[in-house]
Amino acid sequence: MRLQEPEDTVSFTFDGQSIRGVPGEPVAAALMAAGVKLVARSFKYHRPRGIMSAGSEEQNALVTVGRGAQAEPNVRATVLEVSAGLEVFSQNAWPSLKYDVMAVNDLMAPFLGAGFYYKTFMWPKAFWEKLYEPIIRRAAGLGGLSGQPNADRYEKAFAFCDVLIIGGGPAGLMAALTAGRAGADIILADEDTAMGGRLLREVEDIDGQPAADWVEEALVELRALPNVRLMTRTTVTGAYDQGTYGALERIAGPRHIDKPLECFWRVVAKRAILSAGALERPIAFPDNDRPGVMMASAVRSYVNRWGVAPGKTVAVFGNNDDAHRTAHDLAAAGITVAALIDSRPDIQAEGDFEVLSNATVTATKGRHALEGITVTQDGEAREIPVDCLAISGGWNPTVHLTCHMNGRPTWREDIASFVPTPDSIPGMVTAGACNGAFTTAACLKEGAEAAADVARGLGLKPKVTVPAADERAYKIAPLWAMPGKGRKWIDFQNDVHVKDINLAAQENFRSVEHMKRYTTQGMAPDQGKSSNVVALAVLADATGRGIPETGTTTFRPPFVPVSIAAMGAGSQGKGFAPERLTTSHHASVARGAPMIEAGLWYRPSYFPQQGETYWRQSCDREVGYVRNAVGVCDVSTLGKIDIQGPDAAALLDFVYVNMFSTLKQGRVRYGLMLREDGHVMDDGTTARLGPEHFVMTTTTAAAGQVMRHLEFALQVLRPDLDARIASVTEQWAQFAVAGPRSRALLNAVLDARLTDADWPFMACGDVAVAGVAGRLFRISFSGEHAYELAVPARYGASLFRLLTAQAETLGGGAYGMEALNVLRIEKGFITHAEIHGRVTAFDIGMDRMISRKKDCIGQTAAARSGLMSEEREQLVGLKPVGAVKQLTAGAYLFEPGAAAERINSQGYTTSEAYSPTLKTGLALGFLKRGRARHGEVIRMVDHLREIEAKVEVCDPVFFDPDGGRARG
């Protein structure tokens, strides 16, 4: 029921039922106005539940918004804003909220107590996966996901400020005014749709004017300050190291295809002020979970702020003076107050309602909605018919963020609550209700003083002026759980009641952390916001300890659930990783080449031609280009590092196992690089361009790692070496021109002809292509007479077109990664398939390359006997000799008679290809004592693909073993 008729309303649906609401008000308020009491079923017992609170601490009214891929589960109806056409669905009920079949769980409750899962679903073990777990999961889910990709936009962003103020209630607003006026760069974040916190619901004055007017005035002033950023709908979710805070912003307003729903902020603040307020806690009495039982302060919110009556006849039950406000505000709004029930013996309260002191609520009735309560006073019970009960067990300061870096809160007896322990988060101070200051006057004062301290710490000169405000002291007598029969709910979200906690204590789960896990109290979305202190108090009672000794569980981020979509925003689709494109990319795509990813790079697999229906046809043809004519391949993705300086050669000697100081200018040498632990890191060729100038190539995969490694060598290990390195991978477009006709091709495109004398194998030097200065290297990764030609990247696309066109006139053409792989396997050249991090120079037969004339990274460790043992798995070639010709990479090797089991493994395969040159399948692999076993026939077993083949062990160089073709 609405107290005033609102001006404009829109309609939305709840479980298909059309409901009118005011845009921007919480869905909970609109449901309440429409008389909807039953909004959800509880997690475990599927008990009917109604709206309890008016904020993000809501435990009951969790709903799903939208449908299909865009459906978002577990949204709090108390936070979700009404907008036209919104579709809201209840969850955890089937077939409907009113006739939920799982509600039978409630009748089975005696069997479903705490620890039930652990005790019941133990045996037989095989039943767990197949039977118990699926049923439990279906029965116990909170909401569900569609399993489809989410088309909604999310966002993440970074923000920086001098002071982050968390919570825009009286303390936060006063802090923002004080620090803002002093000139500090401020972010004031509040999770509500409007700033003001408690002042938005309370009937009281500040500086002689209604509190809401004071809030509006403060906001007008703050909005006018350029150094203040106000962020509503923004929950600070976590406090992290070095002043970093996480914050989740819900973005309001009409939907748009590009508009994000949420933004996850990483806020970096020099200082922070926590003014997060306090959360009202329930009282545990029998059946305190019926729809219609609400927190007393929430009742004030709905009545005073949203103009909605939560009931026609309302009773108020509390143990503190704050609860009395609710009775007064209800009466002032013209709602019948059936009784004000206070557990304390002598209380001062007057009003147009019955006041029952030293009285408690001991039972409730009503199935889908509250119909009445039983009040016990002086041992006498009586029933009072009500449709709403407002309860208050006192206030818990919102200390959560102060505990995110291992802080533990401190118990304060006078307010029967935990308060933050000072300095729990470096750079953060606390003020207001979250600090245990419960009057408006105290909140304003603490906010101003905290901000002034912070501002002074930033070198500013703040002035402190605090307006006059309500100073009514907060009096409370602890009241946690009522005696008597029936379930007294503590954690409404996880369906934990008093007896569960007693049971935990009885079964010796006495530590608060054990109790939490045994009962699930305070787990999942709620994280113990409302239930925590009550649960501790019950546990303390059950174990005969005090609350301070019992302590709290650990509060961890996030304070409210944060969707993975928001945290990972921007990283889906094209945003997942950058795409690195070579200069020949578009030409390759235009030729129909399927592109494969190599790290971040995209490279052509092969270039299909008309009539080719299978990749192997294209690949075999391209291998033939290189073996018989000439092939062209973009190799720009290989890392290229420019090395200059007086000690350039000394640096190379230090990072490579072999000598580079002896390399002549105009020559290239193959180099092997080790990690300091003696294993192979990478390999490649390095060319000497000048006396103090080299260019190193790395594999595509290890380019970044090698760059880091060289910087490590220069900055950490040998800062005495006067050499400088620079990545030139992006600067040069580089193409392999390989095959017996490669020289003919180059002579057709280079400005000067190549001669045998000037360009022997492993020569390098400057060349020109149509007047463009380039570099030429006579190196080969195919075993053929071959070159690599580099030009500045801006000329890459046109050079690729020129080279491929020329190659085609010579009976060749472009070749892709598949052919490149076949060519190198035929020659036994290694890639990171072989040098995968666990192999040594010895394993690949290159230990003799390690020069003893100098020290180098990895030299000492590589000499350890374990890394040189003949028993190690050594690089070998493998050829099929049985009926099965198919070899695979990643298969295991076994002796012919041995069972194909781990214990019998003799090694494994790393690369495999069909060689059109040799007309056979080939594989490279590592085999125990492999170099001594050439000629042996063993078994290759691929358990995954279920392939088994007889293979003959041979030298890894299958083709042209003496290398004559490359040198010729």
Partner: protein
């Protein structure tokens, strides 16, 4: 976590690559013997308290940095360019 790069100022941890203990600064001579090399390569303290390690400002200036920090409080006491550390 935020690390102050001596070149770039305070930066988010995502810009850095973590290497490990700053023991790497004291590379033994090649003939220092197996114990010295095992200690250098593999044997590490796991202190609850002050520690020194090496970070690379990979997505920044490319400096190797010695970071002195506390594994309990997460406080960072100092950062120095590895290239300028006296050894």
């Amino acid at each position: 976590m935020r690390i102050t790069c001596p070149n770039c100022g305070e930066r988010d941890r995502r810009e850095f690559y973590y290497q490990g203990d700053a023991v790497a600064l004291a590379r033994p001579a090649s003939d220092a013997g197996p114990q010295a090399w095992d200690d250098y390569l593999h044997n590490r303290e796991n202190p609850a308290g002050d520690t020194q390690d090496l970070w690379f400002h990979e997505a920044g200036c490319g400096a190797w940095i010695v970071v002195s920090r506390n594994t309990v409080t997460h406080a960072i006491d100092s950062t120095t360019l590895a290239a300028t550390v006296k050894r």
